[in-house]
């Protein structure tokens, strides 16, 4: 496994609307929350820590917690978070966070949006495996918990 295969996720999508429209959908907290699935408490600004409540049915108790890095209008929007912060009572603040970077590019037909999430290798393999076995029921059960969480957090 090369570093790039395990350390990052990259996805792209063509959106048939102008770049300014996409930027608004990403950085207006109300608009963002509607498609992402979170009720955001606050506004997005570089350096800001923003929290919210997941709105997906059945998971309204899950808190969403990000620290914004860059906001370059209509070009780049990025934040850090813990996508694996699923266990109650565990303090994840000392753990390495992953970085999410949205990039917008004007192309024929609309806007090309790229999202890259990276830093997974810094989340130690041991920490992940430990988290997955916390219930004592093994990987399968914990994968289910993480599955439910990421299904709502994304």
């Amino acid at each position: 496994m090369s570093l790039s295969e395990t350390d990052r996720i990259e996805r792209q999508i063509l959106l048939r609307v102008p770049r300014s429209r996409v930027w608004r959908a990403l950085t207006d907290p109300v608009e963002f929350g509607t498609w992402f699935g979170v009720k955001v408490g606050g506004t997005f600004a570089p350096g800001a820590r923003v929290r919210g409540q997941i709105t997906h049915k059945g998971y309204e108790h899950v808190t969403w917690d990000i620290t914004i890095e860059r906001m370059e209008p209509e070009r780049v929007f990025s934040w850090r978070w813990h996508p694996y912060a699923v266990e109650p009572g565990v303090d994840y603040s000392a753990e390495p966070a992953t970085l999410v970077v949205f990039e917008l590019e004007e192309v024929a037909g609309g806007t090309l949006l790229t999202v890259v999430e990276s830093g997974f290798d810094d989340v130690s393999l041991a920490r992940r495996a430990q988290a997955y076995r916390m219930n004592g029921e093994g990987w399968t059960a914990q994968m289910g918990s993480i599955e439910r969480y990421v299904a709502t957090a994304a």
Binding site: V22, S124, L125, V150
Partner: protein
């Protein structure tokens, strides 16, 4: 492979490699077998496969979120 091989060319001490290997062993990600005086360490491929599946799962969640974004903008 042995600790000696693992640390060859790397800027880490044998102690730190050993320490990390024991943590990984505790998590079931590597195992060791005694061969004479040495411990030979091997990756547990099934566990690493599970870690990769987790990554694939998060990627799938991004696909769904981007799908919702596209639908909200284009419909």
């Amino acid at each position: 492979m042995s600790i000696v091989r693992l640390t060859e060319g790397a800027r880490v001490t044998r102690q730190s490699v050993t320490k990390h290997l024991h943590v990984l062993a505790g998590a079931g990600l590597v195992r060791s077998t005694r061969v004479g005086r040495d411990h030979i360490w091997e990756i547990e491929p099934r566990r690493l496969g599970e870690a990769q599946r987790w990554l694939d799962h998060i990627a799938g969640q991004w696909d769904e979120a981007l799908g919702r974004l596209k639908k909200s903008l284009e419909d």
